[in-house]
């Protein structure tokens, strides 16, 4: 087991919410609410969960773009949380973030080259010749011709934009890259080449990825470990093969059971989860999953379960995981 490169302890991010004179206070959205997570050197950690579970907010908070409300973040053992936004981002310069929609993340009026130069200038690479050399090298590494710098975002395909998004981050030589839904909206054949690129670049530059995705098939293929999030909390964390073979949390089981797989003899499994997740402004008492859980018992309304060991390198946050097997 390798050392953690990035750790979050009891991390929470509460968005919005305010107290109002003469009116009831507005409750904040508890987007991330007590997350414990560590990213090990060189691994690809998958972060899965349904929309609104806080995956993206967690990613942006680790990056330093969103300020945490509580808890701590350590990068290579050094405390990097509790800082003002600008310092927080500076302390975490070795973390990169690839935006969900790279097309929207690029300025349509700027050539690709201008965008790549700007990122490096802000990143502190003052020498233009040095920048040009690194940009050309990185564009080749992501499988593009350096002449692409003269082009504009609308001239490029979805797959090419992903590559630009990746090159833009990698020119800053990060150690950790947060990939937010890196394959959403890509066709299968393009997705395959992009996934391959992620693997090749990890090997070439010794990267560690936090791979945020809702596509369990892709996560299963790419990741070494998987963390499952539900309503702002990591509810299960285990090596990929283990979590798909022996999911312990009832939510993980429902999620894996619901994900359709390519199978010529496939049939639809009957739904095990009814309804929609409750609002993140009004979480249920006790376990936040109990309102939709098949195993829920009275005790689940009392105690809020935290991650506990459930096997080798396997953690689960459920009071009743032993009863569900």
């Amino acid at each position: 087991m390798s050392a953690p490169i990035l750790t979050a302890r009891d991390l929470s991010v509460h968005l919005g919410g305010k107290s109002r004179t003469f009116a009831r206070p507005v409750a904040p959205v508890r987007a991330v609410d007590g997350v414990d997570l560590e990213l090990r050197d060189g691994e690809i950690l998958g972060l899965v969960g349904e929309s609104g579970c806080g995956k993206t907010t967690l990613g942006r908070t680790l990056l330093g773009q969103q300020r945490e409300t509580g808890g701590e973040i350590r990068l290579r053992g050094r405390l990097v949380s509790g800082l003002a936004p600008r310092e927080a981002r500076r302390a975490r310069a070795s973390i990169g973030y690839v935006h969900q929609d790279p097309g929207a993340a690029l300025d349509p009026w700027w050539s690709i080259g201008a965008t790549l130069h700007e990122g490096m200038r802000i990143g502190g690479v003052a020498d233009r010749v040095d920048r040009e050399r690194r940009i050309a090298e990185m564009l080749r590494a992501v499988g593009l011709d350096p002449s692409v710098q003269r082009r504009y975002p609308h001239e490029l395909s979805g797959g090419q934009l992903r590559r630009i998004g990746l090159a833009r981050v990698l020119v800053l030589r990060p150690e950790v890259v947060i990939l937010d839904e890196p394959t959403s909206g890509l066709d299968l054949s393009v997705q395959a080449t992009v996934l391959r690129l992620f693997r090749d670049l990890r090997a070439a530059y010794g990267l560690t990825y936090l791979f945020i995705s809702h596509d369990l098939s892709v996560v299963r293929l790419m990741c070494e470990r998987v963390a499952v999030m539900y309503l702002g909390r990591v509810v299960e964390l285990a090596p990929t093969a283990e979590i798909f073979a022996r999911p312990q949390h009832p939510y993980t089981r429902a999620l894996i059971g619901a994900a359709p797989r390519l199978d010529p003899a496939g049939a639809l499994a009957p739904p095990t989860l009814a309804g929609d997740p409750p609002s993140a402004t009004r979480l249920p008492t006790g376990c936040r999953f109990r309102t939709r859980c098949v195993l829920a018992a009275p005790a689940c309304a009392e105690a809020d379960p935290r991650l506990e060991p459930a096997g080798p390198d396997h953690e689960v946050a459920c009071l009743r995981w032993r009863d569900g097997r």
Partner: protein
């Protein structure tokens, strides 16, 4: 084999663009048997949405069908006047479930008002198109698609429903006038997996219950595996392979089907991808449009007209290597 409910025969379609004539569909054929759930798959730009729009008769003005027929109940939809399509076909014979449930409903009106309007215009022949009858029909469908508190739901606006609930409202809308054919364009793409599972299982139940045939457009082979009985695969405006789910997904014949399936993360061994890019419909390659990217292409590929050749196992394959009168290479 019984006669198909919907039959697309050699449909070709062009769209005028400032850059010239885009040949978007090239001799596309498709049969949908009564009671079948046919998954229409292909990557973006392959023409699957255009095919659906042609069947629905909602093409943009710049589009023109240049050949072929679309037969439903023995009538060629391409030759029916819009007024007849609107009154007798859409809604009554043909229900449509759109991709994005948020965009398909008018935010200004309650869902009850919007569904009642459908009933007023498209109620089946011989049924009372009045408010009371419409309301009763909508309520019974809302209960069937498991919208909680159906009575109150009628008076809600679209934003008051979650994504999954809105998709249930639209399924009810599509089924309102008792169609025989349901066309669903990526109906679960905007939904989370657990919601997707609920909606797919509801669609499967309803199809069996009402004996519906479903044309299910999707790019997700997992969804096809879960719900469809048959699969048709398109590439760059041509149909390349069609058959039962077990045949096409289990033992693909066409090189494109095989390559695409090999790109699926559940199948992928070495993360290969397909070299090259999809050709522009403005300048499509001659013959089989996949030949420039195909591993096993030969000289005759450029001369093979688009279309499926029936195989002994019942599937159709659009590849020269599966043609009986294959010219000696």
């Amino acid at each position: 084999m019984t006669a198909p409910l919907l039959s697309v025969e050699d449909l070709s379609l062009s769209i005028r663009t400032p850059e010239g004539e885009a040949r978007v569909l090239d001799r596309v054929s498709l049969d949908l048997q009564p009671g079948a759930l046919l998954g229409l798959v292909g990557e973006s730009g392959c023409g699957k949405s255009t095919l659906v729009k042609t069947v629905l008769g909602v093409l943009p003005p710049a589009a023109r069908a240049t050949g072929g027929r679309i037969l439903l109940d023995g009538r060629d939809l391409l030759r029916l006047p819009q007024a007849v399509l609107a009154r007798e076909v859409r809604g009554r014979r043909l229900g449509f479930i759109p991709q994005d449930p948020a965009l398909a409903l008018n935010p200004m009106f309650t869902v009850g008002t919007q569904l009642l309007e459908i009933w007023r215009w498209h109620a089946p022949e011989g049924e009372d198109r009045g408010r009371a009858a419409g309301r009763a029909r909508i309520l019974s469908l809302f209960r069937r698609v498991q919208i909680p508190d159906a009575e109150a739901a009628l008076d809600r606006h679209p934003h008051q429903f979650s994504g999954g609930q809105r998709q249930r409202v639209l399924i009810a809308a599509a089924l309102l006038c008792r169609p025989a054919l349901l066309v669903a364009d990526e109906p679960t793409t905007a939904l989370d997996v657990t919601t997707q599972q609920q909606i797919l299982s509801l669609l499967g139940e309803l199809a069996a219950e009402y004996g519906l045939s479903v044309l299910f457009v999707t790019h997700d082979f997992g969804v096809v595996s879960a719900i469809c009985t048959h699969v048709a695969v398109m590439y760059a405006g041509q149909m390349v392979e069609a058959g039962t789910k077990a045949d096409v997904l289990g033992a693909p014949c066409h090189p494109y089907t095989a390559a695409l399936l090999a790109c699926h993360p559940d199948r992928m061994a070495e993360l290969a991808g397909i070299p090259g890019a999809v050709p522009s419909p403005l300048t499509p390659p001659a013959g089989c449009r996949f030949h420039p990217r195909c591993d096993v292409a030969e000289a005759g590929c450029q001369a093979r007209p688009a279309g499926l050749t029936p195989q002994p196992d019942g599937r159709g394959v659009g590849c020269i290597r599966f043609d009986p009168a294959r010219p000696a290479a």
